[in-house]
């Protein structure tokens, strides 16, 4: 296949708006294809397939969202067709809709943001049902008893061995940490208040947990860094905790050519104020810190007005949300490993807090100088559903669009955030970085997010001419074009043509197989036998995700050298 004459944005390879051909063979980008179809992309925007490094798309909490929200299932209905299964849902779509909607947006890869090891079988059951896109799942380690004990004892070798085992057991891709220590405290209804508040019964602090996991992560040379949801997330004044966390790990070096820590959905961790009354943005402080430090990355966690389903392993936060909003509340505590919660809510334009939150996400993206340091996400479906990515792209590309929006919001927005004063408008290249090149780099996916020779042939063609269109003025057209790809080519196969799904390949599932020295693996094994005998409610032999649940695996090797 040859994609001919498109205006290509491939930031990884230094290509920004050059007219060129992309040749594809056997699912890969090649120098020159011998045969195959020709797609005429003359005058059209061509980018690598979109990569979403953080979304909640599969597993127990997503399904809990579906089950407790039949009202959401009634939105976004699309009937079955000869090719497609029916779609349902807006914030918590069914599995098929997940795949179809990502593909139509021009995305080809999405990583599920949080799976507890013991419930990973469920996560993979859903991932297997999501068509088209490649995927992976980040495994939760921040409240796991074995992790807490290793961190308390400062035994990084053993911790690394446990992570290696946990990734294999969950067929997981990376180390996700959510409100470290808080999830364990929630087992008895408590929480931790900050980096140095010890976890009840474990004599270890969040600071020690984060540092230990990062050291073990780098010891294992995992493709992705630790992926952190900070302590105190969602609370006024939490930017101080966020900055304190970053400062606490400045001395840890990355083992790979990537960040050493990714802080996720930063919007929820960039709040000032002493309470909801004087709630304000601290995005400038956060962005300033990131501008001065190159070893850290983040994603936006942009808020979208309207319905959302918040779902997170930060269970105490969800209880607080539910009580504050008198909303439905689901909670799910997971033996020895995690806790989690799900709360539906609606973000309102005239609600001062929501309007300021909306501004904070955009401020972060506009104030952070390098687009390689901040990914575009909505923390689907916490900030809002991923189908709104085109809305976020146009907000970033158009000052007039932002002004128009701000005019409809609560009047506190200009007082409590700097957004209205920001003139920056991102260009096509910067958008390509935030949605393609950077998420692939941050996840450590070498064959994704770019179009160099040997890359996966994931290519999106949008129905707009970047030379002719001014996204600042014509943001409606830009949003329309980003919403329905003209073509989406996944692994060399056309999956979307003129906004319609035309084929349904089964995507691959990435997971990391990391080796560790046998002596440490044996020490972990002994601990596990003890924990399964005394504490787990299932047998060790039934715990690990079996191969039957990952039918199209993409195994990435890592480990201690």
């Amino acid at each position: 296949m040859i994609i001919k004459g498109g205006t290509v944005y491939d930031p990884t390879n230094g290509i920004f708006g050059e007219e060129m051909d992309i040749s594809i063979e056997n699912g890969k980008v090649v120098e020159k294809a011998k045969t195959g179809d020709v797609i005429d992309a003359k005058g059209l925007l061509v980018m690598p397939g979109g990569v979403d490094a953080h979304a909640h798309i599969a597993g127990a909490k997503v399904n809990t969202g579906r089950i407790m929200r039949p009202e959401d299932g009634r939105r976004g209905l699309e009937p079955k067709t000869k090719l497609l299964r029916p779609s349902t849902g807006y914030t918590v779509p069914n599995c098929y809709a997940m795949g179809y909607r990502y593909a139509r947006l021009g995305y080809t890869t999405t990583f599920e943001a949080a799976t507890p090891i013991i419930e990973s079988r469920h996560t993979h059951e859903e991932l297997e049902e999501i068509p088209i896109i490649d995927k992976g799942a980040l495994t939760l380690f921040g409240n796991n008893w074995e992790v807490l004990e290793c961190a308390r004892d400062g035994d990084i070798d053993k911790l690394a061995a446990y992570i290696s085992w946990g990734l294999r057991a969950s067929r997981g891709y990376g180390v996700k940490v959510v409100n470290p220590g808080g999830g364990e405290a929630w087992g008895f209804g408590g929480n931790v208040t900050g980096l140095d508040d010890p976890v009840p019964d474990f004599d270890v602090t969040p600071r020690e947990i984060i540092r230990s996991l990062m050291k073990a992560n780098e010891m294992l040379r995992l493709p992705h860094s630790v992926h952190l949801h900070t302590n105190n997330l969602g609370k006024p004044g939490n930017y101080a905790t966020t900055l304190e966390t970053l400062k606490a790990v400045e001395d840890i070096a990355s083992s790979m050519d990537r960040q050493v820590l990714h802080i996720t959905h930063m919007q929820f961790s960039a709040y000032g104020g002493t309470g909801w009354r004087d709630f304000e943005s601290k995005a400038p402080e956060i962005a300033d810190y990131f501008n001065k430090h190159d070893q850290f990355t983040m994603d936006m966690g942009q808020l979208i007005f309207g319905s959302a389903t918040t779902m997170t392993a930060d269970a105490p936060l969800e209880y607080a949300n539910a009580r504050l909003l008198h909303a439905k509340w689901s909670n799910h505590d997971i033996e020895l490993e995690e806790s989690s919660g799900v709360v539906p809510l609606s973000y309102g334009r005239k609600m001062p807090i929501n309007a300021i939150q909306w501004a904070i996400g955009l401020e972060l993206a506009l104030l952070t100088e390098s687009p390689w340091k901040i990914l575009m996400t909505t923390d689907h479906p916490n900030g809002g559903p991923f189908v709104n990515y085109p809305e976020v792209m146009t907000l970033l590309m158009s000052k007039p669009k932002r002004d128009e929006e701000i005019a409809t919001l609560h009047s506190l927005v200009p007082k409590r955030s700097t957004l209205a004063t920001l003139d920056r408008e991102l260009d096509w290249g910067e958008i390509a970085i935030m949605t393609r090149a950077a998420p692939a780099k941050i996840l450590g996916l070498k064959d994704k997010g770019h179009l160099g020779i040997g890359a996966d042939a994931d290519v999106t063609i949008y129905n707009l001419n970047p030379e002719k269109i001014d996204p600042s003025k014509d943001y409606k057209k830009v949003k329309e074009a980003f919403s329905l790809a003209k073509y989406n080519v996944k692994g060399g196969e056309v999956v979307v043509k003129d906004g319609e799904i035309v084929s349904l390949p089964q995507g691959r599932t990435y997971w990391v197989d990391a080796t560790v020295p046998e002596e440490h693996a044996l020490r972990v094994e002994a601990d596990l036998v003890d924990k399964f005998t005394k504490y787990y409610s299932i047998q060790k032999s039934n715990y690990m995700v079996q191969d039957a649940y990952v039918t199209n695996p993409m195994v990435v090797k890592a480990g201690v050298i």
Binding site: P86, C95, G189, A322, W329, E335, N542
Partner: protein
């Protein structure tokens, strides 16, 4: 040969520590399982061959013939219903959803006459739950409300709840308080520290009174609430508030009495409120080993956990209108496929009478009352004994069932795939 850590395909406990002894492809010994589980694993008399009804009698036929008859019945129906699903693995359930889509059918599970109202309660309020291991390790108070695991889930107490031991519960039963609320003194009640006997159908009032006491508004309550003394309820409320980790485990006694989903809504609200005082979780004591799994599969495939109507080409969910008993009761259903369930034993009488008037296809390893009103009977291998696959425990934890012996029978999934293929072929022929 001894097979270790076998999962039990009987109740929602989904015990995974069973030892099964197999000799020459026969199960000769089952250890650790309760009597209910052991009897299921050992098996009993099977339906020998596929059968179709000819002149009022079931006569044996081939699988191919049975598949085609089944497909024709479903294709000729205007409002087919695919029902059951609780005692088979998720792989078969997925195939069932696909078949329902293809047919524009209604698909519903046994939850409809079981914990269906609990799910509607969850839709109203959400569910503050946990895995069973969390209760094992932490709970110092267990409330069994309208549930009788002593008889329905025999190993629940020992493995997961009142008598189990864990990190913060090293003393097991001694370190715990157990409250039982029921309409009679059940076997479970005999193990209780506090037993509250209530009048049938008064759960809603009692829970409301507890909520008022927990909220500090007990003053306005009368001395007796639905026959229970206020002092008793104050004691219960105090036990709940002062527990370090409480768990509220409810059964059909709460779900299927007057008030139904509103009882659950009320119980979930009580638990949510208790979390402002201490830690409290709530769980439905699900019956069949994979009825939870159907809800999960159906939710991720269609967006809804049960009672899904595909007649519009996309899922429509409205229990009260689209549940199995609703469509059968209104005599809308004109053909029914029953798999891994026994509606003839469990549905209301008038609904079963409706079933008798329409063609019924049964897929099951064992004969049961539904067989007597079936027109096509397709015997299957026993999931979890002869077929491996996924099941979800009552707390939503998924586990992989093992295959212990070979079977001459096809699996549920295979049977459904064959019927689906026939449906597609016959439709294309037309």
């Amino acid at each position: 040969m001894i097979i270790e850590d076998v999962l039990c395909p009987f109740c929602g406990c989904l015990c995974d520590d069973i030892k099964v002894e197999v000799e020459e492809n026969q199960i000769v010994g089952v250890k650790r399982a309760c009597r209910l589980g052991s009897s299921k694993i050992r098996g009993h008399e099977r339906i020998k061959a596929p059968m179709i009804r000819v002149d009022g009698k079931l006569v044996e036929t081939t699988y191919e013939d049975a598949y085609e008859k089944a497909a024709r019945i479903l294709l000729n129906a205007k409002r087919p219903l695919l029902y059951g699903w609780c005692s088979t693995v998720c792989e078969a359930q997925k195939k069932g959803v696909l078949l329902a889509e293809e047919l524009g059918a209604i698909i519903d599970s046994t939850a409809t006459v079981c914990h269906g109202p609990s799910i509607i309660g969850i839709e109203e309020k959400g569910l503050a739950g946990s895995t069973l291991g969390q209760i094992k390790n932490r709970a110092d108070l267990i409330v069994f409300w309208g549930s009788n695991p002593g008889e329905a889930h025999p190993r629940h107490a020992q493995r997961y709840s009142s008598n189990s031991q864990g990190k913060y519960t090293p003393e097991g039963r001694k370190g715990r308080k157990v409250i039982v609320v029921d309409v009679r003194k059940t076997r479970t009640a005999k193990n209780a520290d506090k037993f509250i006997q209530i009048r049938p159908g008064t759960d809603y009032e009692i829970i409301s009174a507890l909520r008022m006491i927990v909220a500090g508004k007990g003053d306005t309550l009368p001395e007796h609430i639905a026959g229970v003394s206020k002092a008793d309820l104050e004691e219960v409320a105090e036990m709940m508030k002062s527990a370090r980790f409480g768990s509220f485990l409810f059964g059909l006694g709460l779900t299927h009495t007057r008030g139904r989903y509103k009882n659950i809504d009320n119980a979930l609200s009580l638990v949510a409120a208790l979390n402002s005082h201490t830690k409290f979780v709530v769980m439905a004591m699900r019956g069949h080993y994979n009825v939870t799994g159907f809800g999960q599969v159906c939710a991720w495939e269609t967006g809804f956990p049960m009672s899904v109507d595909f007649s519009r080409g996309m899922p429509y969910f409205n229990p009260g209108e689209t549940a199995a008993c609703d469509v059968l009761g209104r005599r809308e259903t004109d053909a029914m496929l029953v798999i891994a369930g026994d509606p003839a034993s469990n549905f209301p009488k008038t609904v079963v009478e409706g079933m008798a008037d329409i063609p019924v296809i049964q897929i099951d390893p064992f004969e049961n009352p539904t067989t007597y009103l079936s027109d096509v009977v397709i015997p299957s291998a026993v999931a979890g004994v002869e077929v491996e696959g996924t099941a979800y425990r009552m707390d939503g934890l998924s586990l992989r069932m093992k295959k212990l012996v070979d079977s001459e029978y096809p699996s549920d999934e295979e049977i459904l795939a064959n019927i689906l293929e026939c449906v597609r072929r016959l439709r294309d022929d037309n």
